[in-house]
């Protein structure tokens, strides 16, 4: 393997990994704040893809407008779903299981709603930007660089929101101690609602950016959900920065893995890695034990 090929594979991995990171960070945010494992998270990704498709292809809205609209719609949808299901379950006994079960049902429900609405057809969105960047024997299309750019921007914005805004403080406080947050005046249920919306929007950003490459089908959420799980286990369940690092790491491991072996056993390796991590470091590779 030459150096430039190796670098190219790392870049391939980082690009896909940045998308895993966005999806994983949504799962991590939801789990972090409300201790809910969202099995319907893949469907936020899938619906985000369809929203962009509807706007860009069906309605002819330019991408730079369509993507923010899709994000907002995904946010509202996520919040609505939280409000009519999780919100009530969290107030009951046995919520840890019932929330997992309800998101499982939601996942199947949303998949098949999409099937009814959009059909089996594989949908795709044209590239937002064209052109190829070539240097030192490495070829990367602009579209892929755009993915990486948007991912970095999104992560930067999210980091700023979490670190430096009132909302971010409230999310972090609620995720660390719900009662303590309530006592200082943070309305946990509203924070949960917003967090769910943000997580859905993060999934939708990933979907919007991937739509020109990964076509959209009612089932596109499932594989990405499994990737998201691996990511959050690697990064420590519930940790936002952990999910970012975990996502990038998984992307790079996959790309380099393809170079070294064949694609066939890739997912087995990813899952085995995940189980091994849980076995030796249940709090994740980057999380801390407490």
């Amino acid at each position: 393997m030459t150096i430039s090929l190796f670098i190219e594979q790392i870049i391939n991995g980082l690009i896909i990994g940045s998308m895993y990171a966005l999806v994983g960070s949504g799962i991590a945010l939801i789990y972090g704040t409300m201790r809910v494992l969202n099995l319907a998270h893949g469907e936020f990704y899938m619906l985000g893809g369809y929203l962009v498709f509807l706007l860009v292809v069906t309605c002819g809205v330019p991408a730079y407008l369509a993507i923010p609209i899709a994000l907002l719609a995904a946010f509202l949808l996520g919040a609505l779903i939280q409000r009519i299901t999780i919100h009530y379950l969290l107030q009951r006994e046995g919520w840890a299981f019932s929330t997992i079960a309800v998101t499982l049902g939601l996942s199947i429900f949303l998949q098949n709603s999409a099937l009814l609405l959009f059909g089996e057809n594989v949908q795709s969105v044209p590239y937002y930007v064209t052109g190829i960047v070539e240097f030192a024997g490495i070829r990367i299309p602009m579209q892929r660089l755009l993915i990486l750019g948007v991912a970095i921007l999104t992560i930067a914005v999210m980091t700023y929101v979490l670190k430096a805004t009132r909302l971010g403080w409230a999310i972090r406080a609620t995720s660390q101690d719900r009662d303590a947050a309530a006592v200082v005046g943070i309305p946990a249920s509203r924070i949960y609602l917003i967090t769910f919306g943000i997580a859905a929007a993060l999934g939708a950003i990933a979907a919007a950016m991937m739509a020109p490459i990964y076509a959209i089908t009612p089932w596109s959420g499932l594989p990405i959900l499994f990737k998201g799980f691996v990511v959050v286990i690697l990064g420590g369940l519930g940790s936002f920065p952990g999910a970012i690092v975990g996502g990038l790491l998984l992307g790079v491991v996959e790309a380099v893995g393809v170079q070294l072996t064949s694609t066939e056993w890739r997912d087995v390796i990813a899952f085995a890695l995940m189980i091994a991590v849980i076995w030796v470091r249940p709090w994740g590779l980057f999380g801390s034990k407490s």
Binding site: D177, A181, A182, V184, S290
Partner: protein, 239 residues
């Protein structure tokens, strides 16, 4: 109206599932008063405070504060009404800094004006916290954490402060320090309700006490009256 106590708790009943924790508990707290809730382990002391704050759902009964019925008001609205709470075992936001923890005390819209002056006031009560402002709260000692927790709860300038087991797990030296702080807070014109198992510890700072046993209010009175009560002796010494 001026005669009515600041906080009035009437016939509180609280259940966890089918298990009844509090039975018709009533109590009052006057303005600028320090009240101790006493009782052995498992008597329901913490539940009384949590129920007032809305952290535990109340089956029946009333909580009236400054003439307003707060029974159905959610926890996060309490600071807006003038009540604040220090939770058992400090419960800090462990991954955040001391400063962030304290500032979160003024999170609610109704109290996040003139944060600078509030911070100044709180840091004047706990000078050490100003020095440690950038330290991660979770890595501090128990006593320091308790100070952060109290500082946090004061940021909303409450008129009533509830403290759940403020002495729990602290070294004797720290306990007396915290007791001093409670007195200091009271001198600022704030009413304090705290609970504690140890009778003698409680009466160092409180004006009045209540005794709980198995979820029922058994006795109230000043420290002096209670220490000499037969009921106390029976409850604590099993006589």
């Amino acid at each position: 109206m001026a005669e009515a106590p600041m906080l009035q708790v009437e016939n509180l009943n609280v259940l966890y599932g089918d298990f009844q924790i509090l039975w018709d508990v009533s109590m009052t707290v006057g303005a600028k008063e320090v009240v101790a809730v006493l009782g052995p382990n498992g008597s329901g002391k913490s539940t009384v405070l949590k129920a007032i704050m809305g952290l535990t759902p109340v089956r029946s009964g009333k909580i009236i504060f400054e003439g307003e019925d707060l029974t159905k008001v959610p926890t996060h609205e309490m600071v807006a009404r003038g009540i604040s709470m220090v939770l058992e075992r400090r419960r800090l936001f462990g991954a955040m800094t001391v400063r962030e923890n304290i500032l979160l005390g003024a999170y609610h819209r109704s109290v996040n004006k003139d944060i600078a002056s509030r911070l100044e006031w709180v840091e004047s009560l706990f000078p050490i916290l100003a020095e440690r402002r950038d330290q991660i709260a979770g890595r501090m000692s128990g006593g320091e954490q308790q100070m952060v927790a109290i500082a946090r709860s004061l940021m909303s300038r409450p008129r009533l402060l509830l403290m759940d087991e403020p002495y729990l797990g602290l070294a004797p030296k720290i306990v007396s320090q915290i007791a001093g702080i409670i007195q200091r807070i009271n001198q600022e014109g704030i009413s304090v309700v705290f609970n504690e198992q140890n009778v003698h510890l409680s009466f160092g700072v409180s004006h009045r006490g209540y005794l709980l046993e198995s979820g029922r209010m058994m006795l109230t009175g000043t420290g002096e009256e209670m220490i000499h009560s037969d009921v106390i002796r029976r409850v604590y010494l099993g006589v």
